[in-house]
């Protein structure tokens, strides 16, 4: 009867010699100590800020900002508040991070697979790419793309033209922007409908393959539905979409969609730099799969493409995902190098200009740190969830 024995023993052991009680006490003391230190720091900071005449608190977020920002995803002008500059900077950070993660993943996978290609030339080009871009500091690469490459573009009046609707110059890329007319809502509805249809097609195809063994070209069918359905609705609803084409007026192009060179340079640098790391992760992931897997698949008559898609990559993903998560986190944090070239990200707009205009260093810096922490934790959470899903289900 172990339980009784334990009780007996506990009764005899003094309070300090019982490991369970002792660890509880120590944990309580540690918790109190951490709390007390935190409280002292807070109090002290408050006191010192006050005695130095530095304004504290978050009231500044409601004050009018009074400065312009070159790119904002939400309506913003000088009359908006510092709180809005925070959102503008945050969205710009998320924009460049999301695009960066997207492109770096695609490029990284392509290069990683190319590195293992049997074609000598392709494999060498991939290797050279990885070694070059992995070993040059990111800041230098950003400067290179911004100051050396993009600066060679012509001025607004000598812009490079593409069929008279798109323009490229030192101030950025100018594209026609869609102007949605009435009835465009139907097209969006059709798009949603198409997505739902694809979901069911996929389910149906899988069931049919399980039952009869016949394969259905899911990919092509889905693509057809995805493009075809909205297009038919678009025509039926009166083709209510127009394009606003940028025009040279005064100093520069107006109208249309503008991609500022600061975004392009940062995005190119982040993508190319991170892709080099992702490529190595993909390569090591694929190499970790035993050669027997490929041979077995080939012996069954599975094509090389399908082998990679259905046998190798799914197994390699288990090795790839954890380090891939780190690369995504790096990319998000590296996007703060934006200030070096004036891309209006969170650090540049909020921890830079807003901090300087208001002088609220502690509030602004803690908000900025909280944002990066939250973003990183969210990505990490998502990737862990995805990792669990991809993990090998052992039977």
């Amino acid at each position: 009867m172990p339980e009784n024995k334990h009780n007996l023993a506990a009764g005899n052991v003094s309070f300090w010699n019982d490991p369970a009680k002792r660890s509880l006490v120590f944990q309580a003391i540690l918790f109190l100590a951490v709390f007390a230190v935190g409280y002292i720091i807070y109090q002290n900071t408050q006191h010192n800020l006050e005695s130095r005449g530095i304004t504290t608190g978050f009231e500044f977020l409601d004050a009018e900002a009074g400065f312009g920002i070159i790119q904002s995803l939400i309506p913003y002008d000088e009359t908006h508040s510092y709180g809005t500059t925070f959102i503008v900077g945050l969205l710009n950070t998320i924009l460049v991070s999301a695009l960066g993660v997207f492109f770096a993943t695609i490029l990284g996978f392509l290069i990683g697979v190319a590195r293992l290609s049997h074609n000598w030339l392709i494999a060498r080009v991939a290797a050279v790419y990885i070694e070059i871009f992995r070993n040059i500091p990111l800041l230098l690469q950003i400067f290179f793309w911004y100051f050396a490459v993009l600066r060679l573009l012509p001025g607004p009046r000598q812009s490079l033209e593409f069929a008279d609707i798109a323009f490229l110059n030192v101030r950025g890329v100018y594209l026609p922007s869609p102007v949605l007319g009435e009835g465009f809502g139907w097209v969006l509805a059709a798009l949603v409908l198409a997505l739902i249809a694809i979901f069911f097609i996929k389910r149906w195809a899988k069931r049919r393959q399980n039952e009869t063994g016949d394969q259905f070209p899911v990919f092509w069918a889905s693509l057809g539905v995805l493009i075809g359905l909205p297009f038919i609705v678009f025509l039926l609803s009166g083709a209510s979409l127009q394009w606003e084409i940028p025009e040279l007026k005064g100093f520069n192009f107006r109208g249309g969609l503008t991609i500022i060179p600061e975004l392009s340079a940062l995005l190119i640098a982040l993508t190319i730099y991170t892709a080099a790391f992702i490529a190595e992760i993909v390569r090591s992931g694929i190499e970790s799969i035993s050669k027997g897997q490929t041979e077995a698949a080939r012996a069954l008559g599975v094509s090389p493409g399908k082998t990679l898609q259905l046998v190798i990559i799914p197994q390699a993903m288990r090795v790839i995902i954890p380090p891939l998560t780190s690369q995504y986190l790096n990319l998000i944090k590296n996007s703060s190098l934006a200030t070096a070239i004036g891309y209006p990200d969170l650090v540049s707009v909020f921890a830079g200009t807003t901090l300087n205009q208001t002088g609220q260093a502690i509030e602004v810096i803690s908000m900025t740190m909280a944002v990066y922490l939250t973003l990183s934790l969210l990505v990490s959470l998502f990737m862990n969830w995805y990792n669990k899903r991809m993990a090998l289900v052992e039977r």
Binding site: I41, N44, T45, H47, N48, L49, S51, R52, G53, I54, T55, G66, F67, G68, I69, I70, E78, T79, F147, R151, G155, V170, R171, K249, G250, F251, N252, R254, P261, L337, T339, A340, G342, P344, V347, S348, A351, G352, T353, L355, N356, Q357, T358, G359, A361, I362, V364, I365
Partner: protein
Amino acid sequence: MKKIGLVAAATAISVSFASASISADTLSTVKKKGYLNCGVSTGLPGFSNPDDKGKWQGLDVDVCRAVAAATLGSEKKVKYIPLTAKERFTALQSGEIDILSRNTTWTLTRDVSLGLNFAGVNYYDGQGFMVSKSLGVKSAKELDGAAVCIQSGTTTELNLADYFRQHGMKYTPVVFDTSDQTVKGFEAGRCDVLTSDQSQLYALKIKLSKPNNAMVLPEIISKEPLGPVVKQGDDKWFNIVKWSLFAMVNAEELSLTSDNIDAKKKAKNPEVKRFVQSDGPIAKQLGLSQDWAYQVVKQVGNYGESFDRNVGKNSPLNIDRGVNALWSKGGFMYAPPMR
């Protein structure tokens, strides 16, 4: 960039723990260190810029040298710390520097909410615009829709927004960290206009590879009184910086220069006498030696000398004295009497 984060983190930490430093006075800290930490710009010809031997020079640098001469007896005992516009106030608040002498505009917000004190004005400036001549623009009112290069975290950024709003015009702000990057952006054609304080425009213009292709527009859209800044809560230090600057201005008024001040030591003029050998308890109350004002003028020169040497007629900038002339000569420069 990264530095601003560091500086801000340093403030957070030092503000958190160093409650003692608020009571410790800057003068004794400086004397103990043996040198003065002076925050300057990252390089602005005429105001604070290292020369080809790496020695800092300029109108703002002369304020640092004057304070060092007054407090430590030697204008050489200064450590210059280059700061961007974004970093400067945090550096001062955290005690990383003893004086900020970096073309900083005196504004109400900065005076009351940052825990800082402005110790006077050493240059009266105003914001202007520089464009390239090929643009064919003659006035700032023709700038509707222009892309404007600008340094981040400055009053300039706010004035610009105000000006365009007031005149119902639109602009694209292209914001850089340092004035160097701003010039690069302007040269590369990233923007049509560079805006800054007029004095800076002249200084930046000579940095261009083809200075003659650019021109400064006639409009001045703001008041920019520039001067040294100290931390709030140390009146003694505040007084020392203030009066080091006033000593330079007063010396010009009394026609005392670094060359003739030795000869004037025995002058009969009571004002000059007070200046050269400030006898009585005043020097002691300032916490300085008897000859502090003499040292300032002997080692650094009077305000006029400093102006001519750095930004005026003896410098490549060749800026007119204009409103920065002495009050007796039609300008704004006026220092309280030393008595």
